[in-house]
Amino acid sequence: SAVISQKPSRDICQRGTSLTIQCQVDSQVTMMFWYRQQPGQSLTLIATANQGSEATYESGFVIDKFPISRPNLTFSTLTVSNMSPEDSSIYLCSARTGGNKQYFGPGTRLTVT
């Protein structure tokens, strides 16, 4: 299994600013992902964080808006750039172990005013 922590747990930000979310896994994992969950909705994959190379983004998400880093096998960051109220959401870090099970962090609740 994998235990995932995220910082910050929540934040309130002004429009036009940026927020960087950190994700730490307690063990080396093969894959890391970032998801977004809007209130009352399901989860949507933003990107796969690739260790040592550029992230792979899903349709509708771009690197300029959501830059991602993954410097090693246990850590990743997601930045939400030039925020607008539409970016208010829960952002979830996820990791997959060698056994293919996927685990999630507690999420970062972002409110943009």
């Binding site: 989860l43 949507t44 899903e58 099970k101 999630f104 507690p106 999420g107």
Partner: protein, 110 residues
């Protein structure tokens, strides 16, 4: 892309009752997982079950990959089972990406 639909969307049970949640998917899958999102938002992995049947305590799951569905059984439900249950699948050829279903919101009452 692959479509994942769950039913029912909402379910209210009395404590002690049993329930069956269904997940239908539109294409072949390499990976299927069930998650429980508790009322505080934490997602817990319940099962990795691309095919076959597994049991863990009061929970069990069955995936019939050839017929493109999976079932999650909850027996003797408890109030702590409340929350949202998600099915997530990785379509064949989609490079390890899980697509989440619409979810079933379960409320267990005393």
């Amino acid at each position: 892309g692959i479509q994942v639909e769950q039913s029912p969307p909402d379910l209210i049970l009395q404590e002690g009752a049993n329930s069956t949640l269904r997940c239908n998917f539109s294409d072949s899958v390499n990976n299927l997982q069930w998650f429980h999102q508790n009322p505080w938002g934490q997602l817990i992995n319940l099962f990795y079950i691309p095919s076959g049947t597994k049991q863990n305590g009061r929970l069990s799951a069955t995936t019939v990959a050839t017929e493109r569905y999976s079932l999650l059984y909850i027996s003797s439900s408890q109030t702590t089972d409340s929350g949202v249950y998600f099915c997530a699948v990785e379509g064949a050829g989609t490079a390890s990406k899980l697509t989440f279903g619409t979810g079933t919101r379960l409320q267990v009452t005393l």
